[in-house]
Symmetry: C2
Subunit: 263 residues, 2 copies
């Protein structure tokens, strides 16, 4: 029987990973933990992110998760090894599956990676791609998350900002790259816009999609004793989580429970 899958993120973004999981492994049940009281992780240090992520991982384990997905690029980049060491469950992050997929489809062996400041500063994608023979140029795009959260996924301003960021990366380091790796779980919401803005020869790889495929490979696919139930926990405003979260998950959120894990 498929295990209950615990999905952890700093906020709503990881719901794009859950969305892909529900497509790819629809027979599992899901616990989603959004650490909304302490988001965003993207501007915080490795020490702080590791501390927060481990307490959240323990929470999901206690609630019955049999597998943990760290659906947050920053937490994966900064704290995956710490989380693995602190947990007795199998733990899957979003960086390796994204890097693996990019390596499989790149012919020029060059990739461009866009992500938050902290993910870029960690060079987690650059290292994961280098291990696969791919040279990567990384670029922090701190405005894309707030633009998505403002609901401007198709706004002219977002297109202009994306142009500025992509012109910088493809004009400055990523010449010859044929893959654009989306290293932040908010970016799938602007994938159509990025597709228009990016050079035509560039293929887009979404870590959320690749991670769901990796989870499908690793679990024992079994009798569908479970049925895609989703239970969400948030550390701050449940109302806001419900309102914003639906956009990321692509369907309304049902159960959202407020949790105080500092207590």
């Amino acid at each position: 029987m498929s295990p209950t899958i615990g999905v952890f993120d700093s906020g709503f973004g990881g719901l794009t990973v859950l969305r892909e999981l529900l497509k790819t492994v629809p027979e599992a049940d899901y616990l989603y933990f959004g650490d909304t009281a302490r988001l965003p992780y993207g501007s915080k240090s490795a020490h702080t992110v590791a501390k927060y992520a481990i307490s959240s991982a323990h929470f999901l384990e206690q609630r019955g998760a049999g597998l943990l997905v760290i659906a947050c690029n920053t937490a994966t980049a900064l704290a995956l090894e710490d989380i693995k060491a602190a947990s007795s469950l199998p733990v899957i992050g979003v960086v390796e599956p994204g890097a693996q997929r990019a390596a499989e489809i790149s012919r020029t062996k060059k990739a461009a990676v866009i992500a938050t400041e902290a993910t870029v500063a960690s060079h987690a994608y650059q290292k994961a791609l280098a291990r696969r023979g791919i040279t990567a140029t990384e670029k922090a795009c701190p405005l894309l998350v707030p633009l998505v959260e403002e609901g401007w996924a198709e706004h002219a301003v977002t297109e202009q900002v994306a142009h500025i960021y992509l012109d910088e990366i493809f004009g400055n380091g990523a010449q010859g790259a044929d893959v654009l790796l989306l290293g932040c779980t908010h970016y799938p919401l602007i994938r159509p816009l990025l597709r228009r803005v990016a050079p035509a020869e560039i293929q887009i790889v979404d870590s959320a999609e690749s991670t769901a495929q990796e989870v499908a490979k690793q679990i024992e696919r079994g009798s569908p004793g479970k049925n895609g139930q989703v239970h969400c926990f948030a550390t701050d405003s449940v109302e806001k989580f419900r309102r914003l979260g639906g956009r990321f998950l692509g369907r309304p959120l049902e159960t959202v429970e407020l949790i105080d894990i500092e207590a």
Copy 2:
């Protein structure tokens, strides 16, 4: 003798208040606390913000502050009464001084207020202005903070975003207003840009400036036994605090100490 003044903010923004304090009360010493591990407060609930702000206020009190300035609009809007109740010191927030100044200069008795999502949702400015006979229209401008933090204070994109926000507020509710109140401590950095974008008849009121004037009124101005020393505490990356903070303070930061107040 002037007391040591404790200045509290969720991050760097309150340094614009400290900057005004250093101009207005240069003879005091200052302790600045930036709760950077848990920023931004602007998207968090009242309960969470109050909890964080109170622990930070206690910290400043223990370190010798004789007066507390809550240099964070969100914390003031959501938690000022809770902080006052939890502290034995005089506590000054940024909302009342800003509202007072706006009321003094408005002839039409109508004001427009721009701020973060949480400050607007609290309607703290609307209520403070209503008590002074001013009708206020409020607008959340969540993209302005990340634009300032990206260093785009004079960027064409920021001007376009400001246009969209200001067109919305002055075209939709704030017709006839003659004051634009900056209800977020990041906004003084784009004051020149807002001046260009706002209708010519609008006067801009900056809560940071008004708050410094209120502090000057309330303290006993005495022999300058102190000399404008600034000691900063941050709950996350000291390096980043130093790098970004200088822009907000308008001069380099000297002592920045890392603090873990959850421990």
